[in-house]
Symmetry: C2
Subunit: 575 residues, 2 copies
């Protein structure tokens, strides 16, 4: 077991770009045609992209329903374990086995793309195209969410300015503004300065667009009418009597709906191997549920043998919300779940290595040490258990990297087998669908197999108990410590009729616990809930169990300083 001094060259960003550039897209109408979508439901939006009219859903009623598969992961390292590439590889693998399969993904935020990390369109030979459009405006859905959100913001301040009824309390306005950029200087502002004609002075804030409740609403709405009603329920603040004031009362919900009409139509694209990809909505994975849209899933399930979707962060986060928030809203039940792992993440969870996002992996992490797989394996076993808590037996996908050692794969298989779970190595980044066929076979088998999907908690369970249920059963906490005000608020909402909503816990994604430095499957800890908030439009209550940033900042050297065009007009350094 000779230690390796440096990381072997993986398929990196430059390769992603050259692979993407060399690819030949099929006309998007052809992809839609393969899905059996009626031509009038398909609206091309530039090369290789179409919006799907919601009439597509109606036209498809009665068609056989496909298998519904969610891709989640063990607790990730800061750079992530490749859920997106695995989901894309998986549809390509299923396609090679003769199935029709569609992948449904979130739209990446533009701010982070211009900041640190580049986009989220997969990598290597498991990418969705065209990369440049996906990573920037796509078809403008994020802009529409921002416009609808900020229209309500402007109307709230206009309401205050003209002292319209019900009279808002300027100290109790919860509805902030959003922008799809990393702009730390807008985290805390005072607005309404100037003269009498320039609004009412008060504190305010901007968050990144993905954090908008409007984004969560877009992802959870199952029709235009449902969208309209959810927007009407958004709570913007309190009036002088302390009563909640909604977007309906401000008179904004209708115009917001109209602004979102195009955005409600899912975007159809294709993978490198021409499998259909639906990219639609991108809510935050902590203060919101972190899953792509219900409407995209409906369409995919009506048109394909398999609909593969990705849920943000680890199984304790995105998958838990997928099961308990998204499936509750949609009425759909999943048929299988995939837990993505990497050799490096399992070894990282041994606690023997430090990994920092944006920096090269430490050489020690890349050396052959199968025993570290077992040391970090508690995390995988817990996340498998988290999926099983919802009645599904997951498949483990080992996302292969060039530096991996066969002995370490064997250790992962052994770990998984110890709890009767199948684990398959997938080389989809290097080999496309050809590298994920074993995984695809395992997933297809799991989807056909026995399962007994169930929610983690009933609607009737009180809000505080729902939070406790997730904390103890999923995170492995011994209990929850509510700040007194948080507990009080939950009781108020319980009395006001919001008690049947599901809950969303905003905590770090880097640990099963609320402390990002605690790896593996931490025990002997309690979840601190310092604040709770109501997303009445999206339809959940969220609890803050950590310091969650809703507006990132640029570094001293953001990606945007390198992104440019070359002499032939081609974009450079965007990936």
């Amino acid at each position: 077991m000779a230690p390796q001094a440096t990381e072997p060259a993986p398929i990196g960003a430059t390769d992603n770009l050259s692979i993407a550039r060399a690819a030949r897209l099929w006309p998007i109408e052809e992809i839609a045609h393969q899905l059996g979508l009626p031509g009038e439901a398909v609206e091309p939006y530039g090369r290789g992209i179409a919006k799907l009219d919601l009439s597509a859903m109606k036209a498809l009623n009665g068609h056989p329903r496909g298998r519904y598969v969610v891709v989640t992961s063990m607790t990730p390292t800061p750079p992530g374990e490749g859920k997106t590439t695995t989901a894309i590889g998986l549809v390509q693998g299923l396609q090679r086995l003769g199935h029709t399969a569609t992948v449904a993904l979130r739209q990446p935020s533009m701010g982070p793309t211009l900041g640190l990390k580049g986009g989220a369109t997969g990598g290597g030979y498991s990418q969705v195209l065209p990369m440049e459009r996906i990573n920037l405006h796509l078809t403008g859905d994020l802009h529409a969410v921002g416009a609808a959100h900020n229209l309500l913001s402007a109307m709230v301040d206009n309401h205050l300015h003209h002292r319209l009824s019900p009279e808002l309390d300027p100290r109790e306005i919860y509805w902030q503004r959003v922008i799809d950029l990393n702009d730390r200087a807008l985290r805390h502002i005072v607005l309404g300065l100037g003269g009498r004609g320039d609004g009412v002075a008060r504190q305010g804030s901007f968050e990144i667009t993905a954090a908008s409740e409007v984004m969560a609403v877009l992802a959870l709405a199952d029709s235009l009418a449902d969208l309209r009603q959810r927007l009407g329920r958004l709570v913007v603040g309190l009036d002088r009597e302390g009563e909640a004031v909604t977007a309906e009362q401000i008179g904004a919900a209708g115009a917001m709906t109209v602004l979102l009409k195009e955005a409600l139509k899912p975007n159809l694209l294709q993978t490198l191997e021409h499998a259909p990809a639906l990219i639609h909505a991108g809510p935050f994975g902590n203060i919101a549920h972190g899953n792509s849209s219900i409407i995209a899933d409906y369409i995919g399930l009506s048109t394909s043998d398999f609909l593969i979707t990705e849920a943000g962060f680890g199984a304790d986060m995105g998958a838990e919300r997928f099961f308990n928030i998204k499936c509750r809203a949609s009425g759909l039940t999943p048929d299988a779940a995939v837990v993505v792992v990497t050799v490096r993440a399992l070894k990282y969870h041994s606690g023997r290595h430090a990994v920092v996002a944006g920096q090269p992996l430490p050489a020690s992490l890349l050396a052959e040490h199968p025993e570290e797989i077992y040391e970090g394996g508690a995390n995988l076993l817990k996340q498998i258990d988290n999926v099983r808590a919802h009645g599904l037996n997951p498949v483990v996908a080992i996302n292969a990297f060039p530096g991996d050692h066969p002995s370490e794969y064997a250790a992962i298989r052994d770990l998984a087998a110890s709890v009767s779970v199948r684990a398959e190595v997938s080389t989809h980044v290097r080999d496309g669908g050809g590298g994920s066929q074993a995984l695809a076979e395992a997933v297809a088998e799991a989807a056909e197999g026995e399962k007994d999907f169930r929610f983690l908690y009933s609607d009737e369970l009180p809000l505080a108990s729902k939070i406790e249920r997730i904390a103890t059963r999923i995170y492995g906490a011994e209990g929850v410590d509510f700040a007194p005000q948080a507990h009080e608020r939950l009781n108020v909402w319980q009395r006001q009729g919001y008690g049947s909503l599901p809950v969303c816990i905003a905590k770090t994604h880097l640990s099963l616990s609320s402390d990002p430095t605690r790896l593996g499957a931490p025990a002997g800890w309690r979840l601190p809930v310092r604040e709770v908030r109501l997303s009445a439009g999206a339809g959940f209550v969220y609890a803050l169990a950590g310091d969650i940033r809703t507006m990132p900042g640029f570094s001293t050297s953001p990606a945007a300083t390198r992104i440019d065009i070359d002499e032939s007009g081609e974009t450079v350094n965007l990936y």
Copy 2:
């Protein structure tokens, strides 16, 4: 001459909507095909809309150049005189005469659409479709302008936060933020509050997106490479030594260009009579030049016998900038100009009536009084003279309204004939192209006739003298009173090498003078210039000669409170 008590029902907003709904769009590929555009240059963006790849320009090199016609107007009343409908009617009329003709228009701002007035897609039987998409997001160009603008803003504050070199002076940052909404509470803000990690506290502001210099840049760029260079020249503020700092120095210009790549492609749509319409860019008509894009005009002129474009506000404003800023940047020379008038505007300029935007016209204005046409005629004669100052003899288009009296049309013809100008009544709103054929004939004749286009001033004329030249020759002022600081700044820019730029004067559009209450052709006044600003990227200096709002506010009852969807999902009250 019996006075009429109420205004006869014109073709109003409801009719506009029902006419638009009843229309059957042709596939946009068919419109593009008629123009001889190569298929690969046409990218459909939803039904009835396509973006035109800039390769369309290259492919068309060597094709015969069409006639270039600008539509301007006399000094308008607050509700406007119908330049947009006239421009649309005119292409339809030209088409009926057997010519190919394309209309190029600005994209309307979303904020005002949601606020007071509805959109800007024409009216009656002279509309561009699809109305709903044009008035809201269209293909996202305004959002892209906002994103590019605000990326630079975020990078400026990031630069300040990390104290990057050159070190910015936080008290001398001119680059604000933008949003495409009416949001008065953002006119004056303090940003960068919070803790050490949340930026540097300073004053700031939001303007409406149409007021962004990036929008003016988009309209004036003639290629992707030119766009890149103009963005690099944007001045964001001063460093600690008082030197100008550019977007290039901040490192933002490349990423801004990439964000604007799709937006640089003009949007092809169609009129109700299937004439091609290019809707592209929408810079402000006062602090910027108020004209649609140069690239759209290039494409239209390469593919049609006539390219008709509209310039914002009256001939003293939009047309003057069209001639001296836009044509200077493009190198194109206009072949004809149309001055739109209405009976009501001429009578309004008699000074006998009060007209308020959004309120019904006073009954007195609608009564038959041809003598008032002559009383208000000084304004028309001056605006005709303003066009002639650039070497073109205009055609007067009388935009017909249902309450008009033939005696008043005769008075207008008589007035125009007194200065050897042809005036034609156009009923394009009621009759489509069939109602504008006489106008179209007059325009075609003028375009074929003799002309001697010239700029109003040479590049070499000093900046202050350029402002004086416009004020005295076009506005009819006796001179210009510069605030001392304004004069000093002009001298500084002159020394720094900006002296060859054209100038743009921001004054009220409701009077030839700087006082909106002075009608007709005011004499005996001087233009006060209180401040001057440099738009180094767009390539002009602008002078503030009035109180110009760059961020509107909503009223107590904005249009957005009525815009909604009905039970079948159709949009209501958007027009």
